[in-house]
Symmetry: C2
Subunit: 157 residues, 2 copies
């Protein structure tokens, strides 16, 4: 990661786009289960998941929400953004190994309070839409170029 930078409200224009890609690992699903407390076997137990309509373990829907929030916090507008609201429709299951891309596009600016509205589409490696929605943020007023903190090592199992 190294460096994090942002777009200030003044630098943001309608139609501006950004994207953010993550590959979903088994560990991501275990960590999301630990953080949220959602230990449903449809996410964690392949044998159980095989008996469901999904046939395989699926990622938690809100893991996709976490990716959307990270796209906003890292890419557009980036650091210094205040997250005001998010809507999401979950359209298709996300499976372990899926490569998920969040596509952001600025659709509205409100000068008075520096609010920015972003259209959010989330697609998998096949281009299928897994989620979509709208984010509302307060864009940063000041330019930032900051070092990304190092996360401590995390081990599972």
């Amino acid at each position: 990661m190294g460096e994090l930078s942002n777009y200030t409200y003044a630098e943001i224009s309608i139609g501006q786009k950004a994207s953010y890609t993550r590959q979903v690992s088994e560990q991501d699903i275990q960590l999301f289960a630990a953080v949220s407390g959602d230990v449903n076997p449809v996410h964690l137990d392949e044998e159980f998941a095989a008996t469901t309509q999904f046939k395989h373990r699926i990622a938690h829907g809100m893991l996709t929400g976490a990716f959307v929030s990270a796209a906003i916090a890292l890419e557009l507008p980036g650091p210094g953004t205040i997250y005001l609201g998010q809507s999401l429709r979950f359209r298709r299951p996300v499976l372990i190994g899926d490569r998920i891309t969040v596509q952001l596009e600025v659709t509205e600016k409100q000068d008075k309070r520096q609010f920015v509205t972003l259209d959010c589409k989330v697609v998998n490696q096949d281009g299928d839409m897994v989620a979509s929605g709208t984010a509302e943020v307060m864009a940063p007023g000041e330019k930032m170029n900051i070092a990304a903190p190092e996360l401590p090592p995390i081990s599972v199992g």
Copy 2:
């Protein structure tokens, strides 16, 4: 956790409530940063966070979203629920150590497709609302009582 059980669509009534409480730890924030990729220092670096309007490290907004999704998946309707959509307004920052309670209330049922709408309020230990929104789900058709999978041990640092 032990056992997970659900409410079927037929068992759910307008006005039905459930709640779900989690205390936010430093490790939760580190794990959420790892899962989402959002390593912004406002979440991870106390010295940096002291220079922001928040004065202290704040939890990722979507960590609250993760708690809301877990409340739905574990409590109401519980296992077998299909998550269709979620809206959230982020109203106040969540800090390390905060005890966060998600309050769900059923506001609408649509018999044709077994859709259920839930009002979602999220409050901290002082009763201040940190987030609110609406969830739409497809409620389970079948009663389930299932053993909660054990998560593998997770260590940080």
